[in-house]
């Protein structure tokens, strides 16, 4: 084990290098990140034996990954922003073919206006494509999640692709401290890859991706996919606990901070959870009963556990770094509020949209969100409409 000063991109690329999968396909031009660039360098330097397929688009990157995974290879790719959007069609194919591809995603805005900065529009837009989604707060979690993703995806009760997110630039481009494992420890943790029905097993020929017929079994297969998601709920925890024994950093679906006696609580995902933690600590020193829940697993969504953790809180403020236009709020908000519907007593849930297109979020913005929640807890009337943090108002 060693401690490195490394960018988020560098940490994730290192994790992938230590796993050394059979195939990586990647589109090598912007909006691609340094993860793919670094990995190409590892291949060119002979550090890894991975077959690197440079493709002509992100749609092709995911298509090539699907082909390689169906052939029987442990397969990865990486993407961000518009590249993620261009993969869209194939993301569903990867999940429905039950191929355990893993993919780090550097979360960034989707155009337009053209904007390259951090928000969660890309990955949150892909929340229903059948991939498991794990969000990291910092470079350390990006590294740790990238390694665990292989075990989760490849578990025989799951066999679903996994994407692991870290925030664009704020984490991906910034240098931070990361505890890394030795190569052999990582390889030992992920283990040997076991392909299921691989195309290259010539003794057992298979047909992958067939037409399901006019009165086929599409419906049954979709239910099977959702059951795999339910299984993933358990497997993510098992893998996170085992990883904790190895590293001293156990992982679960979410973490809580000062939540036990909290009257109001924030829910955040990604790097802003770190800022929120600092704000909560400061407010606690002033005697304000504030807590925080940081979401790691967004798909499958750990609704029952989240509801249990937030039981007893009077007002929950959910921070969304992307919006769902015309919906009742951002993606995290609708998920949390739905999870709390059956809670008795049911907390009031407010939505705070922030950080779109890389708009800065300051501690004072997060304090403002807490204040709004406290006003609601004190019985004041607070709108259920979206609250915007650091927006230029007319």
């Amino acid at each position: 084990m060693s401690r490195k000063a490394i960018t988020g991109n560098g940490a994730v690329a290192l994790a992938l290098k230590q796993v050394e999968p059979d195939v990586m396909s990647a589109y090598p031009i912007t909006p691609q990140t340094e993860i793919a660039q670094n990995y190409a360098q590892f291949v060119a330097n002979g550090d890894v034996k991975t077959e690197y397929i440079a493709v002509e688009s992100e749609h092709s990157a995911m298509s090539a990954a699907i082909g390689a995974a169906a052939a029987g290879a442990r397969t990865i790719t990486a993407t961000s922003s518009q590249g993620f959007a261009l993969m869209w069609e194939m993301l569903f194919i990867a999940a429905s073919l039950r191929l355990p591809i893993t993919m780090p995603v550097i979360t960034r805005a989707l155009s337009g206006p053209i904007n390259i900065h951090c928000d969660h529009s890309d990955s949150m837009g892909g929340r229903d494509c059948g991939w498991i989604q794990l969000y990291g707060e910092d470079a350390q979690e990006g590294y740790d999640n990238a390694i665990q993703a292989f075990r989760i995806a490849e578990h025989m009760d799951v066999r679903l692709p996994v994407m692991t997110m870290i925030d664009g630039f704020i984490i991906s481009g910034a240098i931070g401290p990361v505890q890394t494992l030795d190569d052999d420890k990582v390889k030992e943790f992920v283990g040997e890859y076991q392909a299921v029905n691989p195309l290259l097993d010539a003794d057992n020929p298979v047909t992958v991706g067939p037409f399901d017929g006019l009165h086929g079994w599409y419906f049954e297969h979709k239910v099977s996919q959702n059951r795999a998601m339910e299984n993933a709920m358990r497997v993510i925890e098992e893998v996170g606990a085992e990883y904790g024994k190895l590293t001293g950093r156990p992982y679960s679906h979410f973490t809580t901070h000062h939540l036990d006696d909290a009257e109001v609580a924030l829910v955040a995902i990604g790097s802003a959870a770190g800022n929120a933690k600092t704000v909560v600590d400061g407010l606690r020193e002033k005697g304000r009963k504030v807590g925080l829940l940081k979401v790691r697993t967004f798909r499958p969504f750990p609704a029952a556990q989240v509801a249990e953790a937030l039981a007893g809180v009077q007002v929950v403020g959910v921070m969304d770094r992307s919006d769902s236009f015309g919906a009742q709020g951002g993606p995290l908000f609708t998920e949390i509020r739905s999870a709390l519907y059956d809670a008795v007593p049911r907390p009031q849930v407010l939505n705070f949209i922030y950080g779109l297109g890389g708009r800065d979020i300051f501690p004072s913005d997060i304090e403002e969100a807490v204040s709004v929640c406290e006003q609601a807890a004190a019985g004041e009337s607070v709108t259920q409409e979206r609250h915007y943090l650091n927006l230029r108002e007319d």
């Binding site: 039950r98 298979v206 047909t207 099977s224």
Partner: protein, 108 residues
């Protein structure tokens, strides 16, 4: 070789199928008769054809049947009538003809 008993597949629930709808045998497209989609039927002139096999490589449905290194016939069970074979034939040995007309003649 995997065995795949599907006699009662109509009763199968979500957990009985192979992962990802994979079928544990190959060549399943053979079971699927796509010839019915055809509106134009390729007809080959045996006199003009010199078995160069360019149509064999061009055919997207593997419907050019080869026997003993020669072009034997076009598999009308699977040919969708796209006309690529006729377009690439260097000797104009394949003509696309009206499918309905051909069927009418067959019925007579």
């Amino acid at each position: 070789m995997k065995k795949w008993q599907i006699d009662d597949i109509d009763t199968w629930g979500p957990s009985r199928h192979e992962l990802g709808a994979t079928i544990p045998r190959s060549g399943t497209a053979d079971d699927y008769n796509t010839g019915g989609w055809r509106v134009e039927r390729p007809v080959r002139d045996r006199e003009k054809c010199n078995d160069c096999m360019i149509c064999f490589f061009a055919c997207p449905d593997s419907s050019v049947v080869v026997e003993d290194g020669k072009m034997a016939e076009i598999d009308l069970e699977h040919c969708k009538g796209c006309g690529l074979c006729a377009a690439v034939c260097p000797r104009d040995a394949i003509e696309m003809t009206d499918e309905l007309e051909a069927r009418r003649k067959e019925e007579e």
